[in-house]
Symmetry: C2
Subunit: 263 residues, 2 copies
């Protein structure tokens, strides 16, 4: 059944970015253009692991806990570990030679540092071995309606991408404290400012990531931009729901439980 | 009654640092040394206002809110306004010519930035007009038992005091997440590292400042060091309790309510 085979191949091409998989998609197979509702029902453990930023960013995280985080990331093939600046050097040394990327927070968790300081924090994190940077948007400027400053603040950090094309910058817009209109505005600013991902939340405020927010964010940024869902994602079911909604990265402090829950 | 007069004078001299006022004090009057239990029953509104750091450090604070904070601080004679780095410049321009000092947070609220970054954030804040710096201790290093790094982190910030002798550095040790033994260790490190104040908490964790913690901190650092109580102090009664326990500075986001509640 070549048609089925090609159809599957067509579908597969959509698995790459793993984005917008529960929306209507146009798929070509055997010169026939189909408009199909694609829904991700299962995802292979190893595929899921690669989408996970295994995260430990609480203020009191100890060295021992970070060491465990890194060991587990290597063991289960998580895409990235996300730690605070004070632990980037340690994580980088522990993950050397593995495929696990090192991520650092920037201006975490309030986003209230000046642009220059966020930029320096980003550079320092890269120097210490980070290649993924999860910065918090200047929420004070955003809520004051100073979108120019919000953009300038993000640009100060994305400038670090000049050091290496391998660097990914994600911007936390803190969805739980934004209106839908504000979420749309924030997503547009993040994209315009040259970041790679828009990210839901720090996990400190309200209910964290929701399916509705991730769908909205994917809709605003389009298919070729990153959407990271983070905050309150604790189970395999939660993670799959976020991926179905359009997330192509999952931030979680319970990565192990998620992977163990996978079929 | 010269004895009474002298006695009052003796008492008055203890009002300066406003510390340890509910403990037993040795007071000299007319060649007689008395050991008296001193208790602060009332404090004048204007005296209390000078001890208050009127604080607005939530991530979403708007420009309008900061402007109101500064107006109220001038009107009621608060000692200091405490804002996040993104608002130091604004606060400094609004408070120019007044007696209200400008305070900035550093590494707020998790304390997870590297020492170099905290140091630069402190310098930048001073350049923008701050003369009080409330930094968060490296809680990750503290909980990992790396006290050398904790001290080095504080020293990186206290180095900014070289710019001006007017600069005051306070260190938030986050009492709600420390054991009593850890609180004692933290106070000693803060004092050794050249800071001016040890401060209870950011207000983000648990119950914030307690009378017991303030008493303990005052006991550890002695009479000639600053103790700032912050976190959950909302009424005049709360504030007086903290001063009686040994605090000589109060951090609060409800400064107006506290002053209005004063007799």
């Amino acid at each position: 059944m070549p048609r089925t085979k090609e159809f599957k191949k067509g579908l597969k091409s959509h698995w790459g970015p793993l984005s917008g998989l529960s929306s209507w998609e146009t798929v070509k197979c055997d010169h026939v253009v189909l408009n199909v509702k694609v829904r991700l029902l299962t995802i292979m453990k190893s595929q899921l692991a690669k989408l996970i930023d295994s995260t430990l960013v609480k203020a009191t995280a100890t060295k021992d806990e970070i060491e465990r985080l890194c060991r587990e990331a290597i063991q289960h093939g998580f895409g990235c570990v996300m730690v605070n600046p004070v632990y980037v050097g340690l994580a980088a040394s522990l993950l050397k030679g593995s495929n696990v990327r090192v991520g650092s927070t920037v201006g975490f968790p309030f986003g209230v540092s000046l642009p220059d300081i966020k930029a320096l924090e980003a550079v320092k994190a890269v120097e210490e071995g980070a290649c993924e940077l999860d910065m918090v948007m200047n929420l004070s400027a955003f809520k004051s309606g100073d979108y120019k400053l919000v953009k300038r603040d993000i640009e100060a950090v994305t400038a670090v991408k000049r050091i290496s094309s391998d660097i990914i910058v994600k911007v936390i817009i803190e969805t739980p404290i934004l209106t839908n209109e504000e979420k749309i505005t924030a997503c547009k600013i993040v994209k315009e400012a040259g970041a790679d991902f828009v990210k839901t939340s720090t996990g400190l405020f309200g209910k964290g990531a929701t399916v509705e927010d991730v769908k909205l964010m994917r809709q605003v940024v389009g298919r070729d931009f990153g959407v990271k869902a983070a905050g309150g994602i604790r189970t395999y079911k939660d993670a799959v729901a976020m991926i179905e909604a359009g997330a192509n990265r999952i931030g979680t402090s319970t990565a192990l439980a998620i992977i163990k829950g996978a079929p």
